[in-house]
């Protein structure tokens, strides 16, 4: 099975979230976009350029932060960023790096060896090196993974600040959907190498929240059997002992639920339309594929 299959993603100006299960193809997609991996069939293109043949030209417009913290441990943050800045051909290196270090809150640690950095500082350094060439698009792979909540908030604020200040667009690949919810305005969901859905967050929220209901009962399997006999639902699935139903006739469905529970003598613990969160959208879209 190919890792990616007819995957088309659009990355608009702004901050875009890129989500999918483990092994869904997120990191592979980033690898293909950077020209690290060759598409064995078809073509991958970005900025209208072939990702494999023109990877150098594409990378001139990109900033990338990989998931791994592969930075030269014996270098100081300033020395490392100086080297990166020279590769980008930046002329006012000292000034640029001073500003970047300030932007990512690393001024206090600029002369310390990178190997002494905490996980949060590593991520902030990664963010700084991704933004050093003032790229059109910054691709961040798991920017908030393995760091504490306060560190995550700091990183997210920095990303938002950078977008506001410099107009840099971001593509953020992550599993932490609550993080995306705070800063993203566009979402791309992939699974098994295919795009499941993509669009403006508000549009997706409306699309997936309309007719989805969450039910909590004392005996979910028995309740599902009864539910499936009605004509009001299109799909039903279970997540964490909670029943989710995609409904085609909400009014009738809402009237039937208490009736079914009472007929089966089951305790109806909760019954509500799903919240408009990314986690809900994600579990519906990827859940449907299961």
């Amino acid at each position: 099975m190919p890792a990616l299959n007819e995957l088309t993603i659009q990355i608009p100006n702004g901050i875009s979230g890129f989500v999918g299960k483990n092994g869904s193809g997120k990191t592979t997609t980033i690898g293909v976009l950077l020209g690290l991996i060759k598409a064995n069939k078809g073509q991958a293109s970005m900025f209208g350029l072939d990702c494999w043949k023109n990877s150098f030209e594409i990378r001139q417009k990109l900033g990338v932060m990989h998931e791994t913290n592969a930075y030269p441990g014996n270098f100081s943050a300033r020395r490392f960023l100086t080297h990166v800045a020279k590769l980008y051909g930046i002329t006012q290196i000292d000034q640029t790096i001073t500003q970047l270090l300030k932007d990512v809150d690393l001024t206090h640690a600029q002369d310390k060896p990178i190997k002494t950095f905490s996980a949060g500082m590593f991520k902030r350094l990664g963010l700084a090196q991704a933004l050093i060439g003032n790229p059109e698009l910054a691709i961040l792979d798991e920017p908030t993974a393995n760091i504490d909540p306060l560190g995550r908030i700091t990183i997210l604020e920095k990303i938002k600040d950078m977008h506001t200040k410099h107009g840099t667009s971001f593509l953020i690949s992550t599993h932490i959907l609550s993080d995306l919810e705070k800063i993203c305005n566009y979402l791309i969901i992939i699974d098994q190498g295919k795009t499941i859905d993509q669009g403006n967050i508000n549009t997706l929220t409306e699309k997936y929240s309309a007719n989805i209901y969450k039910i909590e009962v004392s005996n979910p399997p028995q309740f599902i059997t009864a539910l499936q006999k009605t004509d009001t639902i299109d799909k039903v699935w279970v997540e964490n002992d909670k029943i989710f139903c995609k409904v085609n006739n909400p009014e009738m469905f809402c009237a039937e639920i208490p009736k079914i529970a009472s007929e089966l003598k089951l305790q109806l613990k909760g019954f509500q339309q799903t919240l408009n969160s990314l986690e809900e959208i994600y579990s519906q879209t990827v859940g449907e594929k299961r």
């Binding site: 592979t28 690898g31 950077l34 020209g35 690290l36 991996i37 060759k38 990877s55 150098f56 990378r59 001139q60 990109l62 900033g63 990338v64 990989h66 791994t68 913290n69 592969a70 930075y71 030269p72 014996n74 270098f75 080297h83 990166v84 020279k86 590769l87 980008y88 051909g89 991704a130 060439g133």
Partner: protein, 249 residues
């Protein structure tokens, strides 16, 4: 944006700085000094004799080979495992620039360490700076470095694991030395003996430190061509593979 030659020079300097920042650099220098000193243990005073350049060469080749295998595997195979290569290829640099800068920088650093420590012989054995056999020895060290560099880089690209690459490269180079005739051109000491012996015949007729039997021109050229050709072919293939075909995941 940097022009390619400028970007290459930047990368080259970065690689040099990377090498100089290696935590084991002092150990590498110490091992090189030790290798030179071990060869001179038989000396009790100033001998004015170039023969000691030959007598202890096997220790230098042993340590040089081990150090070269380790550093090249760390730089090439290690960069896959650690994710360095992935990061480097996110910057606007070309693949050939990364490959060539790594190879140039490591060769330069290792050769500088060994050439400067080997020069201690000039003092220890009171050999003249103009002694041709000193430069012949340095040339042979350079050939060995190039040969091991090619083997290590080739294995690194296949194994993509630092430890595996060190072990396989070292075993391969020393396997050749032990499995094949010790005086053959495929062994490090065999090549050294042939090159050193041939020049010895020309510059110091009547002395036979390297070989009691005359070294033929064919053996001499074979000893130069074998490591050079191996290095050019292996590095050429690896270079084309790395710059055109290799996927980094």
């Amino acid at each position: 944006m940097n022009k390619p030659p400028k970007a290459f020079f930047r990368l080259f300097l970065w690689e040099i700085e990377n090498c100089l920042n290696l935590p084991v650099l002092s150990l590498i220098v110490a091992s090189a000094i030790l290798a030179v000193l071990v060869q001179s243990t038989s000396i009790t005073g100033f001998t004015h004799d170039y023969g000691d350049l030959y007598s202890g060469a096997s220790t230098i080749f042993l340590i040089l080979t081990l150090v070269t295998c380790t550093l090249f595997s760390h730089s090439f195979a290690g960069s896959f495992g650690r994710g360095d290569l992935k990061r480097m290829l996110s910057y606007p640099v070309k693949r050939w620039q990364i490959f060539v800068s790594k190879a140039f920088a490591l060769n330069l650093v290792i050769f500088s360490i060994y050439a400067s420590t080997y020069a201690m012989n000039l003092y220890i054995n009171a050999i003249s700076l103009l002694e041709p056999m000193f430069y012949v020895s340095l040339f042979t060290i350079f050939l060995q470095l190039l040969f091991v560099c090619a083997v290590s880089v080739g294995i690194s690209m296949l194994a993509k694991s630092e430890l595996m690459s060190i072990v396989i490269s070292f075993l391969l180079v020393f396997g050749l030395d032990n499995a094949i005739n010790f005086h053959g051109i495929s062994t490090s000491m065999g090549r050294f003996r042939n090159i050193f012996g041939y020049f010895e015949q020309i510059t110091h007729p009547g002395f036979h430190y390297a070989s009691s039997v005359a070294v033929t021109f064919e053996r001499f050229t074979g000893s130069i061509v074998f490591p050079l050709l191996t290095a050019v072919v292996v590095l050429g293939i690896v270079f084309v593979y790395f710059t055109r075909k290799m996927e980094i995941d």
